[in-house]
């Protein structure tokens, strides 16, 4: 590259110190301004607005908006739909994240071995993640179709002569949504873990092998400690996105049957459709403390990394 040669020619000289005066400061603020203005209008202001609306009785088209204190929160906390949505969201996130963590580490460890065809398998792992989420969930909706047209029921009818209502029974709907969400979500974990594992020095493993450490011990005492930072960041980021996921539930079950898969983003969306903005906002805002804690931890982890 031309730039590197020109800088090398000056390598002997001390790089001139540039005074970072007023013009740089003005330029710096000018350059960052477009993004900041967008974020102020599209994130900060809406964020404050959301919190504000959740304390009012605002509806779409209302002329008078009254401050109602915690009434919206008191009201929604008492509804069965909200209680179920919080419980479902917690169950879904906990089960999904545990699956992704354990299987993600397992798959990444296997893909990190010297085996034939691992490049092919790595590319393959990317496939569900490269697929648009809405496509993935529609696809799984039909895999779980209650009739003989669904892939799983086709097999069940052939082998056992029976069929299951995957998405329309209270017991099976949530596990089905979780399997589909796992399919779409696990590649991010595998690829992040794999990238981190490839940075571990092979000498560590060689030394451990000479000492006679078993595969599990090498994983436990070398792999895990070396990638713990990545594990933490990936888990936190993914937990924020998973808690927020709308498409999986919306496209596969719409929150049904009778709220069995209702999560809070879907509940908030239904709230928006009823045009009662105060209550709908209260649904999202009530989850804010959890997000604030997660986001605060992630930001500090990532900034420390720099």
């Amino acid at each position: 590259m031309a730039q590197s040669t020109s800088s090398r020619s000056l390598a002997g000289l001390k790089a001139p110190r540039f005074s970072l005066g007023k013009t740089d400061a003005a330029l710096g603020m000018g350059l960052v301004a477009p993004v900041l203005i967008c974020l102020m209008t599209l994130v900060v202001y809406p964020f404050i607005f959301a919190v504000y609306i959740s304390f009012t009785d605002r509806t779409v088209g209302a002329q008078v908006v009254n401050f109602v204190g915690f009434d919206n929160f008191r009201y929604i906390f008492g509804t069965q739909g909200f209680q179920e949505s919080v419980r479902n969201t917690l169950v879904m996130v906990f089960v999904l994240q545990s699956m992704k963590l354990v299987l993600g580490l397992g798959i990444a460890s296997v893909l990190n071995q010297a085996i034939r065809g691992r490049t092919v398998f790595r590319g393959l792992t990317l496939l569900p993640w490269a697929m648009p989420a809405f496509v993935a969930y529609l696809l799984w909706k039909y895999m779980f179709d209650p009739t003989q047209a669904g892939a799983f029921n086709m097999i069940l009818i052939d082998v056992f002569g029976t069929q299951l209502d995957f998405l329309s029974s209270r017991e099976l709907a949530m596990p089905s949504v979780i399997i589909a969400s796992f399919w779409r979500g696990f590649p991010f974990w595998v690829i992040s873990f794999l990238a981190a594992m490839q940075n571990i020095s092979p000498e560590l493993y060689e030394a451990a092998a000479i000492d006679g450490a078993s595969a599990w011990k090498r994983f436990r005492h070398i792999t895990l400690p070396s990638i713990q930072h990545v594990i933490l960041v990936v888990t936190l980021l993914s937990t924020i996105w998973t808690t927020n996921s709308f498409e999986n539930v919306w496209l596969m079950t719409g929150g049904g049957p009778s709220n069995a898969t209702m999560t809070f983003p879907v509940l908030a969306y239904y709230g928006l459709q009823t045009l009662r903005l105060g209550e709908a906002s209260a649904v999202s805002v009530s989850m804010l403390p959890i997000f604030a804690i997660l986001a605060f931890v992630v930001v500090n982890l990532l900034l420390k990394e720099d």
């Binding site: 710096g28 603020m29 071995q113 010297a114 085996i115 697929m131 493993y205 928006l272 990532l302």
Partner: protein
Amino acid sequence: MATRLSLIQKIIAYGSLAALALFILFPVYFMAITSLKTVRDIYRLPSLLPVNPTLINYEQLIGTWKFLDAIRNSLIVASATTLVSVFISALAAYSLVRLRYKFRNWAGRLIMFSYLTPSSLLFIPLAVIVAQLGISNTHQGLIFVYLTFSAPLSTWLLMGYFRGIPVDYDEQAMVDGCTRLGAFFRVVLPLSVPGLIACSVFTFTGAWNELLLSLIFITDPALRTVPVAVSYLITGDTVRMGLIMAASIVSALPIMILYFIAQRFVVQGLGAGGVKA
């Protein structure tokens, strides 16, 4: 890795990889064969093999359902979002990495928190704001709103790339007579092409795939983007299964091709910042 695997370990490794491949590929295979079947065959002759393959679903999708309109809408929205977002993010990232001024740390933190602010919290006030600005039901409105997720991510990723380029390069360019902006455009940007590609891929796919905001802001059927157009094909029953699977393939294909072409940059970018799944 240097450690050799024993035979049993090899059997376990290949066995689990085979199961993984089946788990990943079976749904995709099912989608492909279903898209090639008529409604009649899907219900009358349920089979995991292609039965009487036909392109009728694809013909209907493009003919009756005017799906190419949705593709065009999504191309416009996703391309414009990418251009605007990558451009303003590159400026912001350069400013945050190279220039020193008051509020710089504060601005950096704001961008990171924005990246982590859930859209489930923002969509209700955004619906009100977009209506007040009079840009609901327009592509411009959607492009503007998509900056909420694309600009923070791109800025964050590009900050990582710019940090990897020695400051000496900028200073050298300035010694050679470039202005600071000149150094940025002529030296730093050309060296950050992999980062720019990663950001563009993430932004384009993010905008192409986005459902919730598009569902809320676009009500005119002629302006619908791909995910919204596809979700309107579902009408409670599954009679259109073949059609919906065909639509899914058509909407996924451009994105997946893009991903696999740019795979190297995408995986690097993933490591650099963590990407919205």
